[in-house]
Amino acid sequence: MSGGVRIASPVYGLMAEFETPTDVLVAAKKAFAEGYRNMDAYSPQPVHGLAEAIGFKKNRVALVCLVGGLLGLATGLGLQEWINLSAYPLNIGGRPFNSWPSFIIVCFELTILFGGLSACIGMFAMNGLPMPYHPVFNVPEFASATRDRFFLCIESVDPKFDMTATRSFLESLAPASIAEVPY
């Protein structure tokens, strides 16, 4: 790409296939060292260190979960205090209207409920799932990405991406196969 003008590339990227977690991890680190930034690695099970190797640092799932949990706590406490102090005060065995120790359990349960739902929904949302279509699925070999193979895909939006140069770089990593990923 020259002159800062992005020409729509006919391909999504170039994808290399590897047989072991170690190979894909080495490849990812080499690609990052080479200067590639717009890339992703795919594996059938989590590979320790692979996300960091492709330059992924910001994982905000824990923050979302914390905020959700605190919101649940506030909901539980607010709901019970409002009901017992204002909306529907009941005299139960002469206990004070604000008998907060009795409210702990519902606060706890709502903390867990909101926290868990935020962690789960937040994780899928930040991952951009559900996403029924994605270009990587166009590569026939990619079917084994959920079985026993590991893939590294350098995307054409990467400023350093060049069909020939990137292909020869990937070839230098000794992959099992290389494929163009069409849109």
Partner: protein
Amino acid sequence: MNPTRHIDETQVPPVSHQVPVLAPGHTFETITDKISSIVLTDGISLGWLALLVISAGVAGLLAIAATYLLYKGVGIWGINIPIGWGFAIVNFVWWIGIGHAGTLISAILLLLKQSWRNSINRFAEAMTLFAVMCAGLFPVLHTGRPWLAYWLFPYPNTMQVWPQFRSPLVWDVFAVSTYFTISLIFWYTGLVPDLGTLRDSAKNKVARFVYGVLSLGWRGSARHWSRYETAYLLLAGLSTPLVLSVHTVVSFDFAVGIVPGWHTTIFPPYFVAGAIYSGFAMVLVLAIPIRAAYNLRDFITDRHLENCAKFMLATGLIVSYGYIIEAFTAWYGGNRYEINMFWNRMTGTYAPFYWGLIFCNIGFVNILWWPKIRKSPVALFFVSVIILIAMWLERFVIVVISLQKDFLISSWGEYIPTRWDWATYIGTLGFFFAAFLLFIRVLPMISIFEMRDLLPASRPHEKVEVHS
């Protein structure tokens, strides 16, 4: 590529010689194929079909009993005043207790890095879900007007009435519904990568479409895995206090009341231990036939069965301690109503139930000290069935005997479960097994990606350094 390293990594023999949680000789591919082939095969085995027909037929009893209940009311059950909490609450506590082992296996053992859990967590979580469904049904039917059960939740209504938040029964609504929701999303989150595997391996077009929709387009991106692992760990961390709280809150239903035999501080820990105890028994009752029928001995090894048996022994002994302390407190406390209640337990109408449970849970469970029993699947299966029965008796003793004779002689009574009580209970067993049979046919009963993770080959070599 270095060919020797390739052989090294994919044909690694056992995970460890001391801990055979996965039989030797497996690769990423064989694990994937073995587990997914159970689901992806086109045929239906006759044995499976026969069992499904039988369990679904038994579940039909539940449908009939529930329909008749809606027509007639709770009077068709044996409950009366003073014993208003018969089978419905006995079975509620029993079922929800069974669910606890599933969450313990999936959440607590994950946090404790017990990798052997990877082969049993999926179906144990499914067991939890179905057990909680059965459990939840009982209090809802017990309300007498199940179509108004939503009154239990706080919602703005024209009567401007709100729940009474100082009542353990309201706490229970929150505890059980949270427990079900969190168990469901934990189970589904765990399933998503495996659904992706099934989508990519399925030959059948309909199957590929259904698994494709359910997998949400999972593609195993490294960024996704990173967030996924965090979320999974957080869900485990949230489920851990949750599972301990659920049976604690169930025990508050009793312990907060002043009824003799219920009003005791030992209930929460003793209920939680009892729940895990019966839950592991149900795990074994399901795991032992499954691993034989589907030839899964490579994944669910004798080591797994033995670990479950050890859990049962440990929690069984905690439960025994609970029984002993209950009796001791009744005697040492000197409260005449408590003493009378205990005397009634040991000599009254339902004394055989009490002695049966004491025999099984204090005496018989000690058979698990014997390694030969823990290593024999057949023996373990029968021990587990006996434990499940004993834990059901325990709940019967707690619920019914305490209500039977309380403070006023004029209000003493008897409780005889009717055929509708039995039909409802046996019907839930049918529903549970039918749901479980459907589950093992359409979803991977063992977590495929977590099993692949057990292989040493899934861990990259320590020294992967690249310099630019």
